[in-house]
C-alpha cells in the first residue's frame, strides 16, 4: 500500500513541500554594514589676529614698565 492510496496524503504532502520551498526562498538575510557615506565635518574658522597683536602689545608694555619681571 502506498501513500497515494490516501487522498489526504496526496494533497497535504505536495502542499507542505511547496510551502517549505517557498519559505526557504523567502528567508530574509540580515547583514550589518556601516553606511557607505563618509563622515562629513563642516568647520567655520574666523581668524581674529587682532587679539594676538593686542596681547603682544600689552605684554611689550608690561615688560617695558617692569624690566625685571622675569
Amino acid at each position: 500500500m502506498s501513500y497515494r492510496s490516501f487522498p489526504v496524503c496526496r494533497t497535504i504532502i505536495p502542499v507542505f513541500l511547496s510551502t517549505m520551498i517557498g519559505l526557504a526562498a523567502c528567508t530574509p538575510t540580515m547583514k550589518v554594514e556601516a553606511p557607505d557615506k563618509p563622515i562629513v565635518i563642516n568647520l567655520n574658522v574666523k581668524i581674529e589676529h587682532e587679539v594676538r597683536v593686542k596681547v603682544e602689545n600689552d605684554l611689550d608694555k608690561a615688560l617695558s614698565s617692569n624690566p625685571n619681571l622675569f
Binding site: I39, I41, I47
Partner: protein, 222 residues
C-alpha cells in the same frame, strides 16, 4: 627703456605678507614703455612660487597677474606657521590669480590642491580637549586630526589681499585609528585677514639674520 635680450636680476627680499628671499627675475625691455616678465621665481617652502610671461607697463600696475605655486612642502608650510603640535606631510600646488582694482590687489578664484596624499597630525592636548568638550562633531574632528591621512586637498581663496580673505578647504581622507578608517570629509570655511596672520613674527624664523633685522624693523613699527 630698452635692453638687448633677456636680463636676469636677483631679488634679495620682497615682503609680500610672507617675506620672500633669493628670487630671480628674467626680464626683457622691448622699448615700448613696458617690460616683459619671462619668469619670476622664489624658492619657498621646499618648492617655488612665482609668475611667468607677463607684460607689465612701466607707468602703471598690470591689470592682473597669476602667481604659481609649485611643489610646496606641507611640512615646511606648517613650520612657517609655527603652530605647536601640528605636523603635516604632502605636496601642494596651485595658481593664485591676482587682479588690481583701483590699485588694490584682489585674489580671484585661487585654487590650491594636493599632489597625491599626505597627512595632518594635530595633537595639542589642550586644543583637542576643548574640541572634545564642544560637542560630538568637534570630538570626531579632534580624533580625526590626531592622525589624518588625506587623499585630496582642494582649496579656494577669494578676497582683497590687504583685507578679509575667504578660503574654503575640502580635505578628504581618513584616520586609520578611527572607525576602522572610515572615510571623512572635512570642509573648512576660513575667513580673516591672512596678510596680518602671515606677517606675524613667527614667520620670520626662517629668514637669514641680516634680512630678518630689516623685516622686523618695519614690522615692529606697526
Amino acid at each position: 627703456m630698452r635692453a638687448e635680450g633677456q636680463q636676469i636680476f636677483t631679488i634679495a627680499l620682497v615682503d609680500a605678507g610672507v617675506p620672500l628671499v633669493n628670487g630671480e627675475a628674467r626680464l626683457r625691455f622691448p622699448g615700448d614703455l613696458s617690460m616683459h616678465l619671462d619668469s619670476l621665481t622664489w624658492p619657498f617652502a621646499g618648492g617655488t612660487i612665482g609668475a611667468s610671461n607677463i607684460k607689465i607697463p612701466l607707468d602703471e600696475l598690470p591689470s592682473s597677474l597669476s602667481v604659481d605655486m609649485d611643489g610646496l612642502d606641507a611640512s615646511s608650510l606648517v613650520g612657517l606657521m609655527d603652530v605647536p603640535d601640528l605636523e603635516a606631510r604632502g605636496t601642494l600646488t596651485g595658481r593664485v590669480p591676482v587682479i588690481f582694482k583701483d590699485g588694490e590687489p584682489f585674489i580671484e578664484q585661487a585654487r590650491i590642491r594636493s599632489i597625491g596624499g599626505g597627512s595632518i597630525r594635530y595633537r595639542a592636548q589642550g586644543a583637542a580637549e576643548a574640541l572634545r568638550q564642544s560637542g560630538s562633531s568637534a570630538e570626531i574632528l579632534a580624533d580625526a586630526l590626531a592622525n589624518f591621512q588625506f587623499t585630496d586637498i582642494n582649496m579656494t581663496l577669494d578676497g582683497p589681499l590687504n583685507g578679509e580673505i575667504k578660503a574654503r578647504a575640502e580635505i578628504k581622507g581618513s584616520n586609520p585609528d578611527l572607525y576602522n578608517g572610515k572615510r571623512i570629509e572635512l570642509n573648512v570655511n576660513l575667513s580673516g585677514v591672512l596678510r596680518d596672520l602671515l606677517r606675524s613674527a613667527t614667520v620670520l624664523n626662517e629668514l637669514p639674520a641680516s634680512i630678518r633685522d630689516r623685516v622686523q624693523g618695519s614690522a615692529g613699527n606697526r
